[in-house]
Amino acid sequence: MQNEFNAMEHVVGCIRTKEEADMVLEGIKNLQEALYQTDTTSLFDIIPTKFPKRIAQGLTDVIRQHYAKGDISSVNELFNKLSHSIQHLEVLRLHIAFEPTETGLNDITQWINDELGQGIIADIHVDRLILGGVRVVWRGRIWEKTLNQMIAQALDRQKETIIKDLIS
């Protein structure tokens, strides 16, 4: 039981973003649809195509353990619990000026896990107008430190000089 919990926690912990969470939920739905088919190999064929690679391996291991017991209904129960856990992950929305690299995404999600705790995933929106920095939406509140904002403040400070330049 403890092993099952750890395996499920591992799978959920591998989900970094809301996009991945939605993908996993959709994949679980597909797995549940294929669960009662006679050909069990088709279930494991679905996993690599419907889940991120980091999640696919852990998920495959968990399902194999349950299949080894020959209890298909317990596998279904596992899917239900997994969906429930994913649906209850808290979302931190981040507006950034670039498409993050895998490293960048790992850094961000790592920071979230380290600084804010487990059970929080990032919902990343690319908004190039902010130029740099981040706009954070958390529990209905907004915090912002962006280059766009900084430039606007700087422009405001240099307004008179700029107008002189434009007129000249």
Binding site: I96, D107, V136, W138, W143, T161, I162
Partner: protein, 243 residues
């Protein structure tokens, strides 16, 4: 002159007077004839002196008789003339009355006839006037209809002409506007290019100034990601996530 007309003439006042004069003249002629006869006898005084006295006496008698007859004739003529004059006056009065009556009757008849003619004329006039009025109205109606039709045709022709004129005007204006627009667009494009160049220069200067203040050097992707982590750290430090 016929006999009846003669008597008619004699019965008038003038006729009476002339008759009296004629009688007087006859008397005078007789006297002159006698006198001439006496003169003739005097010339033969020597021959018939004896009969002179007799002749004178006879002549005097003849003259006297002639005078008496003449006077008688004159008196008779005068009486006749007076009688005729009276008769004439009576006749004149009667004639005048008759004439007056006839005239009044004639005048009344003429008045009646004229009244009748007037009434008839007035009736005819009314009828003619009514007919003329009706003809006038009819003609006016026809004329009005014709005028309206003419006016419509004229208006339609005018409208067509105006529309054609407006089309030509629009076409000419469009052509002019098109040419003008092309020139203006060309000028605007050149002006825009120049302004954009100026603005680019200004923006470049602005960004240069801003970058100097905000950024000390160009930002790469890693630095972007670093900025995000750094900003998140600041947010946490400010207690944003604790709330």
């Amino acid at each position: 002159m016929t006999l009846s007309s003669f008597f008619t003439f004699i019965s008038t006042t003038a006729g009476i007077i002339i008759s009296a004069i004629v009688a007087l003249v006859v008397g005078v002629v007789v006297v002159i004839a006698v006198h001439a006869l006496l003169v003739r006898f005097r010339t033969s005084r020597g021959v018939i002196e004896k009969s002179k006295v007799k002749a004178e006496r006879e002549a005097e008698e003849i003259v006297n008789r002639a005078r008496q007859e003449a006077q008688h004739i004159v008196l008779q003529a005068n009486e006749k003339a007076s009688e005729l004059l009276r008769s004439a006056q009576i006749f004149q009065t009667a004639a005048e009355r008759e004439l007056d009556r006839a005239l009044r009757e004639f005048i009344q008849k003429e008045i009646d006839r004229l009244n009748e003619a007037y009434t008839e004329l007035v009736g005819s006039y009314h009828t003619m006037a009514e007919e003329a009025h009706q003809r006038y109205l009819s003609n006016m109606g026809i004329a009005s209809k014709q005028m309206i039709e003419d006016a419509h045709q004229s208006a339609a022709r005018t409208q067509t002409l105006l529309e054609e004129e407006v089309k030509r005007f629009h076409h000419a204006i469009d052509q002019r506007l098109s040419g003008w627009l092309q020139n203006v667009q060309k000028e605007i494009e050149e002006y825009k290019k120049e302004k954009i160049r100026q603005i680019d220069e200004s923006i470049f200067r602005i960004i240069f100034r801003v970058s100097q203040e905000v950024l000390s050097k160009p930002i790469d992707l890693e630095e972007h990601q670093g900025l995000v982590i750094k900003a998140l750290g600041e947010a946490k430090k400010e207690g944003f996530f604790a709330k």
